[in-house]
């Protein structure tokens, strides 16, 4: 379990920004994985399966946040005070971190898995339940969005 902990946490912190949220999501993911382990079939690698559970957990957390944060949506418009700011330890990566946060969750997940975790299109497809072609399309749009989002920071 420890072997998969850091990968799961890295993905969660990039998806969610706040370390506390990421910790909780990873714990939830491990508990869910452990409970579902008897249903795990070795069709996919365990790490891919673990990514799948973690990413789904993160998407659920984000969906819940949207509901809670709906009346405060004005606050999201300010890119300077996003929660990922705290996670970006270094000045050089601050712009990219903020830009990743500004992606939609649907774009952020493939971007994080590909660019930060180095998964293949096939693996990302398994994690997100998408065809490799669909992964490629989303990733492409995510990259273009990211370039746009980074510019005000540079």
């Amino acid at each position: 379990m420890r072997r998969h902990e850091s990968a799961a946490y890295r993905v969660a912190v990039r998806m969610l920004g706040r370390p506390a949220d990421a910790e909780e999501a990873v714990q939830d993911a491990f508990v869910a994985a452990w409970r579902a382990l008897p249903g795990f079939r070795a069709q996919s690698r365990f790490s891919t399966w673990m990514h799948r559970i973690t990413v789904n957990r993160c998407l659920t957390v984000i969906a819940g946040r949207r509901v809670l944060a709906a009346p405060l949506s004005g606050a999201e418009a300010d890119p300077g005070h996003g929660p990922l700011e705290a996670a970006a330890a270094r000045e050089g990566t601050r712009a990219v971190t903020a830009a990743i946060e500004s992606l939609t969750p649907e774009q952020r997940a493939p971007f994080v898995l590909r660019e930060l975790e180095g998964l293949s299109y096939d693996e990302i497809g398994e994690v997100l339940d998408l065809s490799p072609a669909a992964v490629k399309g989303r990733l492409h749009r995510a990259r273009l969005e990211l370039v746009e989002a980074v510019r005000p920071w540079r």
Partner: protein, 207 residues
Amino acid sequence: MSAPGAVLACGRSLAPLVEQVAEGQPTVDPEHQAECRHCREALVELEAIWSEVGELAREDVRARSDLVAAAMHRIRTVPREREPRPLSASQVRPPVATHGARHALLEGSGGSTRIAAGVLAAIAGAAAVAIPGVRALVGDRSAEPATHVELDGMSVAITLELEAQLGPPLPALATAVRAAVLAELVAQAGLADVIVHVVVANVADAR
């Protein structure tokens, strides 16, 4: 560079340049790129962005050291399922017997809201089977309704018959079911007055 799908001043699209840098793909149009100031400027900016992405990817992000221990603690306190248990259709909408009114009635100033007893039973059933140690509502296995709903306006008395897992103490299980069902009925159905009777009608081994 501007909006996604942007076209550079030279008339070329930005998109293939992004893929070229991000995926390390071969240059689509090497002769043009060698000549074109706009493409080269865009490539320099993209290379800079992707070098920051690479730096971020190499950043040492670590969870706090007791994260696994915390998850393990939660796992030890939650009984493990033999197999994942999807909600069956009957768990979503269990067989229900109604007593008294067939709808909960919520009066509002602009009109009334009525919620069918079966909906309350579904909410209660879903909350109950989500509790570890509850194997099923008994009505899932037989023609007899597992859920009885007695309604009077915003007051509801609900009786759930369930099959428990053999082993853990049943009074504690019933308390957990009661608390979960109560919370869901108040939160989801807006009921003011909820009584939850739990009937442990069967036990079964996890295997």
